[in-house]
């Protein structure tokens, strides 16, 4: 890590007046993107509400099948990763390039950890046959249990894809930080990925109680 070399001076894009203009525009753009993600995941939560209203019994039954301990562990992991992400941004603001990388790496490890836990969870479900309708071979008391698992895999799967994309973005940030792109006057990509990452955490904050805790 070449932290002794000076940072690379950021050149503001030609259509912006100055770096504040560029930063504020990028940030607004990212918040509008998050607006679309709110509606994207939010619609799935509406589907959840319909399903829960129609078949409350499948949620009671599934509550005993899903492992709340693994869900809680994943929640803690993601919350901690949100913390390390925001600390990475703060380190860049303070010109602490090494700390920025360390915090980013920690965030990435947490993200991997989340996916590993999910892998074990999914394997267990698949092993017992709790899969969406066509592949559902498990024995459930409720006739419509496959609907729960269909939605469970769709929502957590989509969330998991977002985590994977987040990992890719963090790797990109690490590579750029290594080259000295980020410093007190330019850390826009960090801020953008940070906002995205916190949103991924937000979705899980709601997924966890709704699927794992409330039966």
């Amino acid at each position: 890590m070449k932290i002794t070399e000076p940072h690379k001076e950021h050149i503001v894009a030609h259509h912006f007046a100055n770096s504040k203009h560029e930063f504020d525009s990028a940030r607004l753009g990212m918040w509008i993107f998050l607006v679309t993600e709110v509606l994207f995941f939010g619609a799935l939560f509406v589907a959840y509400a319909f399903l829960r209203w129609s078949y409350p019994e499948i949620f009671v039954e599934a509550h005993h099948i899903l492992s709340w301990k693994m869900g809680a562990l994943n929640t803690a992991i993601l919350i901690f990763s949100s913390f390390t992400m925001v600390m990475a941004i703060r380190s860049a603001q303070l010109n602490q390039r090494l700390k920025t990388s360390l915090y980013l790496i920690t965030t990435m490890i947490c993200a991997f950890g989340f996916l590993v836990v999910k892998f074990f969870e999914y394997s267990a479900k698949i092993h017992h046959g709790y899969l969406p309708a066509k592949y559902f071979v498990a024995h459930g008391a409720s006739e419509y249990l496959h609907l729960f698992f269909g939605l469970y895999f769709t929502m957590t799967g989509l969330h998991g894809i977002h985590v994977l994309v987040g990992i890719g973005l963090i790797i990109w940030l690490l590579l750029r930080n290594r080259k000295g792109h980020f410093y007190s006057n330019y850390y826009t990509p960090l801020e953008m990925v940070g906002l995205y990452w916190h949103f991924v955490d937000l979705v899980w904050i709601f997924l966890f109680p709704l699927f794992y805790l409330v039966g």
């Binding site: 050149i11 509406v46 319909f50 916190h198």
Partner: protein
């Protein structure tokens, strides 16, 4: 115009805000897990959602910085919640206001469905 601007305009949040938020979030997670071990009947869901909303508020305000960001970003994000709520309210109230539930096995017709269900064995539901 100069493209090398050196004005420092970014507010640096004191680390204690972030640490306090982390700890609060972990504590709230523990609370929600503990509370879920008890059965409050119809209140289970609202309680869990309330805790989730408080956690979300902390992430949005402190980690995502909306507390210090008084620009249009805030309005945009809150607006998205409003429209999501509209989607939920109108479609769910349709569901609530339907006069009957029609479970598939309760009504018998002698109509052969032209549609093939994806799941084998579902044909016996007419």
């Amino acid at each position: 115009m100069s493209n090398h601007d050196h004005s420092d305009h970014h507010f640096i949040v004191p680390a204690r805000y972030y640490v306090a938020t982390l700890l609060s979030l972990l504590v709230l997670t523990i609370i929600t897990v503990v509370v879920a071990q008890y059965n409050f009947g119809g209140w289970n869901l609202p309680i869990a959602l309330l805790v989730a909303v408080i956690k979300a508020g902390l992430v949005i305000n402190i980690f995502m910085g909306l507390r210090w960001n008084r620009t249009f970003d805030r309005i945009a994000f809150l607006g998205s919640l409003v429209f999501l709520f509209i989607f939920f309210l109108f479609s769910f109230s349709d569901e609530l206001l339907r006069p009957y539930r029609n479970p598939i096995e309760a009504v018998h017709h002698d109509i052969k469905s032209p549609v093939k269900p994806l799941v084998k064995g579902a044909e016996h539901h007419e």
